[in-house]
């Protein structure tokens, strides 16, 4: 008698789409457990706040993935671990930013007053005085720096994108712009000083010299950002314009630049924000003064960063007032840069081509 072997029937499992999952509140619970564990450890070993926080994160990175490993499996556990790592590094990155802001506001907010914004430091010893002269100086110097660097930077970018065609001259310009990006600001200041000494003799100090130094720092930023923006303009728009019988220069001024205007203005504003806080070049060429000076082409001109530097290094007698003013000026400078950033975003949104 022969035994017929039954052919093995191919059996397939049900589709494995369902897997056990931790409840939504699991991370919160794990955090509470980790915090409690860290708290007990901190009490036993008398750690400070930093140690407790560190222990909490470490415990969380241990508890949640382990829990997940037993319930959900390896892949989910790795995901949980990575999530914890990403969030904690984000937290670490926020520490310097928030503490800096906190410190400046804490130290500087007290000194802000009507007098602080409307008085210069002329004949002020000790209490009183203000940063009017430094605000005026910073605004005038950055304004001139912008007036120099925007035409040069934007036109250089137009050359690179529209005319350069990646030939030798364009590659040389690109290389030089890259090199300029890395110039230390003090070198820019020395350059401006050396340049003005040729015309005005040694010991020259003027606000416009500071503008030249800042322009040296600004131009590469403006070129780079404008170049990127011009490259984003689709070639189809240029061709559409050419096909209507529009010459190249009109195509650039009336189609390419308007299309990318929002981005260009954003880039310029960010470049302004970047150089508004420069100290070293202004220290050399714009000098320091206690008086208001509206003329960028004669005499020393105070600026916020230089004011901060001198108020902190030479606070006068008694020192506490000078230091207070330094913190106040730092707060004003940060606010100024922040406002510029906000303006850049708003302008970028206004000029962006709308769809509706």
């Amino acid at each position: 008698m022969t035994v017929l072997e039954t052919p093995p029937t191919a059996q397939r499992d049900a589709l494995p789409l369902v897997a056990p999952q931790l409840p939504r509140w699991a991370p919160a619970l794990a955090l509470v457990i980790a915090a409690a564990g860290a708290g007990i450890l901190a009490l036993l070993l008398s750690w400070g706040l930093t140690g407790t926080l560190l222990a909490t994160v470490l415990l969380l990175a241990l508890v949640l993935p382990l829990w997940s490993r037993f319930v959900e499996g390896g892949r989910r556990a790795k995901d949980r671990l990575a999530t914890i790592l990403v969030w904690s590094t984000f937290g670490v990155a926020m520490i310097p930013l928030t503490t800096l802001l906190w410190q400046v506001i804490d130290n500087g907010a007290g000194v802000l007053s009507g007098q602080f914004f409307s008085y210069s430091m002329r004949n002020v010893v000790g209490e009183g005085g203000g940063i009017y002269h430094a605000i005026v100086g910073t605004l005038i110097i950055t304004l001139w720096a912008t007036a120099i660097s925007v035409p040069v930077g934007v036109l250089a970018a137009v050359y690179l994108v529209e005319y350069g065609e990646n030939r030798l001259p364009a590659r040389i310009v690109t290389f030089l712009v890259d090199v300029m990006t890395g110039i230390p600001s003090i070198v820019a200041g020395l350059f401006a000083y050396a340049l003005f000494v040729i015309f005005f003799g040694p010991g020259v100090r003027m606000g416009f010299g500071g503008s030249v130094a800042l322009a040296v720092l600004m131009i590469p930023i403006v070129v780079r950002s404008t170049e990127e923006m011009l490259k984003l303009v689709p070639n189809e728009l240029r061709e559409a314009s050419y096909a209507l019988g529009v010459p190249k220069w009109r195509t650039i001024t009336k189609v390419v630049i308007p299309t990318s205007l929002g981005g260009i203005i954003t880039g310029v504003t960010l470049a302004i924000a970047r150089v508004a806080g420069e100290t070293a070049p202004l220290l050399i060429i714009a000098g320091k003064t206690d008086s208001v000076n509206f003329n960028a082409f004669a005499e020393r001109m105070q600026s916020l960063p230089v004011f901060i530097y001198y108020s902190f290094t030479q606070p006068g007698v008694p020192p506490q007032y000078g230091q207070e003013r330094a913190w106040g000026a730092a707060l004003v400078l940060i606010a100024l840069v922040m406002v510029l950033n906000l303006i850049a975003r708003i302008i970028g949104r206004i000029f962006a081509p709308s769809k509706r």
């Binding site: 065609e165 689709p234 189809e236 728009l237 240029r238 061709e239 559409a240 314009s241 050419y242 096909a243 209507l244 019988g245 529009v246 010459p247 009109r250 195509t251 009336k254 189609v255 308007p258 299309t259 081509p353 709308s354 769809k355 509706r356």
Partner: protein, 259 residues
């Protein structure tokens, strides 16, 4: 106001690379001429050489003659900008200017050249061009809205309106329907039929039915082999081309045996 185009022994290069070789043809005025052929065979390149648009690409150049109205387009004292004013172009992808409204887009040809036109005159040009492009009824109540807000088919018709607003002699169309749905395509084909009475129209298409539907003459381009330059295989009236072509490879291509 339409002109015919005579092309003789035209070679088109990108740098050292010969892209299209030895094209001879006469494109009749007030008719529709279609170019068909496989991808990369130089149809679009040839089309762009008809209004000197291909020189926009660095290194591109041309040997041979393209004669419009007795003038050689590649003559030494010819201004390419003037050529493009007389020979307009519509592209594969609709490309209205994103910074401009529908109204401004139609007037772009004169606005970008800073021509001063009276408001009433400008209104007339916009209405006439949009009516010519079969778009007027759809957009007349929102002329101030951005051109980018229209649908793809409407955008393409806006681009056609923009091209005919400068009243060119010739209208070149580089696969104008390839990005559009059948309804928009049919709208544009109807438009081509209407425009034929006023303009010389040259159209590149991948769609052989479209070539058969809209064109009076058809040119078939092909590559001899991969890496070889493209060339014009056959140029004949469309009816003959699609019923009894002279060349075997044309018949093979049209009947779908290759390509």
């Amino acid at each position: 106001m339409a002109k015919s185009i005579d092309v003789s022994d035209l070679n088109i290069y990108y740098g050292d690379f010969l892209a299209v070789e030895g094209v001879n043809m006469t494109i009749r005025a007030r008719s529709v001429t279609a170019f068909i052929g496989p991808s990369g065979c130089g149809k679009s390149t040839f089309l762009r050489s008809l209004n000197r648009m291909h020189e926009v690409i660095p290194g591109a150049r041309v040997e041979g003659k393209v004669v419009v109205d007795g003038q050689s387009l590649y003559g030494p004292d010819i201004d390419p900008v003037a050529v493009r004013r007389e020979i307009g172009m519509v592209f594969q992808r609709p490309n209205p200017f994103p910074t401009m409204s529908i109204y401004e887009n139609v007037l772009a040809g004169s606005r970008l050249n800073s021509k001063r036109i009276k408001k009433s005159e400008a209104d007339d040009i916009v209405e006439k061009s949009l009516k010519g492009a079969n778009l007027w009824n759809e957009v007349k109540d929102r002329l101030g809205k951005p051109g980018m807000g229209l649908s793809g088919g409407q955008q393409q018709r806006l681009c056609i309106a923009r091209a005919i607003a400068v009243e060119p002699q010739v209208l070149l169309m580089d696969e104008p329907c390839s990005a559009l749905d059948p309804i928009s395509t049919s709208a544009i084909e109807d438009l081509i039929h209407e425009l034929k009475s006023d303009y010389t129209i040259v159209i590149v298409t991948h769609n052989m039915q479209q070539a058969a539907r809209v064109s009076d003459d058809t040119g078939f381009f092909n590559l001899k082999a991969v890496g070889e330059p493209g060339h014009l295989v056959e140029f004949n009236p469309t009816k003959k081309m699609f019923s009894n072509p002279d060349n075997e490879s044309t018949e093979a291509y049209i009947s779908g045996r290759f390509g």
